[in-house]
């Protein structure tokens, strides 16, 4: 895949990457960085991209991975938590704390667990959709989801 072909994919599908990154990172600047990073990675590692049948599915997973890496970086995590805490109201006093807890839990998970947690709890994807994103069986996703729930509950407790 050459630069022109990557540019074409970028122009046609970049909007979905940008939207997802905005939603996950709540920062226009960080989202734009992720947008660049995702497509630069395709340019550098075209075989990973070309092997996938669904462009949307690949970009969704790649964007999630890139955003999680930033969220799990301490500075970005702190910024997101700070934004949430500063924005809390009397009607939602616990939101900042909840976000902080969620961010800390994410930081303690493996890459795959963190992605699974986002797909399950934030995106509310079906197990079929998650299975396609990971390239695993639906049954395996079910088992992982059970283990993830246990781990999360242990950390919350």
């Amino acid at each position: 895949m050459n630069a022109t072909e990557v540019e074409t994919v970028y122009r046609e599908h970049g909007h979905s990457v940008l939207r997802r990154a905005r939603r996950m990172l709540r920062s226009e600047e960080d989202a734009r960085d992720v947008l660049q990073d995702v497509f630069l990675d395709i340019f550098k590692n075209p075989t990973r991209f070309e092997a996938r049948s669904s462009i949307a599915t690949y970009l969704y997973a790649a964007t999630t991975h890139a955003c999680l890496n930033r969220i799990r970086d301490g500075r970005t995590r702190t910024r997101i938590v700070t934004v949430e805490t500063a924005g809390r109201s009397a009607q939602a006093p616990a939101r900042g704390e909840t976000t902080a807890l969620a961010a800390e839990i994410l930081a303690g998970l493996t890459d795959e667990e963190a992605q699974l947690a986002v797909y399950l709890y934030c995106d509310e994807l079906t197990h079929d959709e998650i299975a396609e994103l990971f390239g695993w069986s639906r049954r395996h996703i079910g088992n992982l989801a059970t283990r993830l729930r246990q781990r999360v509950m242990e950390r919350v407790a």
Partner: protein, 227 residues
């Protein structure tokens, strides 16, 4: 398909044209009766339109063939964006001049600056900054209005290179270019010229001595010394 809500992934696949006709129709039908999914779909369509209208350029490394044509070998390396951003927080008092530019600048509202990464250390570049082969340069731009930007370099041997292909910039202060440049072994003065234009342009079509209407340039010079 049966949903409580249409997922973000399903929306992406719908807009990408990857859903079968029946599934696409089911998504649209569901969205027409569900406020949450209607909002999700509308937001996705709005972002798609915004992106298409903006037509942002992707800052991929300059193709090797083009650099050869221009007669110079430089390496475009991993982005130093994060490092530069961190350095900015430490180095930049917010009320000081933004960049140290040392050359003639045509009238305009955009300026260029740079950081130098030498080994593990990063510093803000100044007037006729001394650099060494292998140092990495992170170009940063400050613009007061959205503009298109490109950067080229002329080294002491008279060789011209493209450091940044034409890219759209949003308004912002000290925004790092997508990629850093690793300096080659050619010693002497190297002038980096930043070109800003209000609309998209092709570098090959630009004459720096007769700039198109609305375009401006800003320059800095590196003095490359032996290690």
């Amino acid at each position: 398909m049966i949903w409580s809500h249409v997922s973000e992934l399903a929306v992406d696949r719908l807009l990408a044209g990857e859903l079968h006709a029946a599934d696409a129709a089911a998504v649209r039908d569901h969205a027409s009766t569900c406020a949450t999914c209607r909002t999700r779909l509308d937001d996705a369509v709005a972002t798609q339109r915004e992106f298409a209208a903006e037509r942002p350029r992707l800052g991929l490394p300059v193709p090797l063939a083009r650099r050869r044509k221009l007669g110079r070998s430089v390496a475009i390396v991993v982005p130093l964006v994060a490092v530069a951003a961190a350095a900015l927080l430490v180095l930049l008092p917010r009320d000081r001049a933004v960049v140290a530019h040392d050359e003639v600048r045509t009238k305009g509202t955009s300026i260029v600056g740079f950081f130098v990464a030498h080994g593990d250390q990063m510093r803000r570049g100044g007037v006729r900054e001394s650099v060494m082969p292998g140092d990495r340069i992170q170009i940063v731009t400050t613009t007061l209005q959205p503009t298109w930007f490109a950067a080229i370099s002329d080294d002491a041997s008279g060789t011209r290179s493209v450091y940044v292909e034409p890219t759209k910039l949003d308004v912002g202060r000290d925004r790092p270019a997508p990629l850093a440049i690793e300096l080659d072994a050619t010693l002497g003065d190297e002038t980096v010229t930043a070109l800003f234009c209000p609309t998209a342009f092709e570098l090959d079509a630009i004459d720096l001595d007769a700039l198109p209407e609305g375009c401006s340039v800003d320059r800095f010079t590196l003095v490359k010394v032996p290690k």
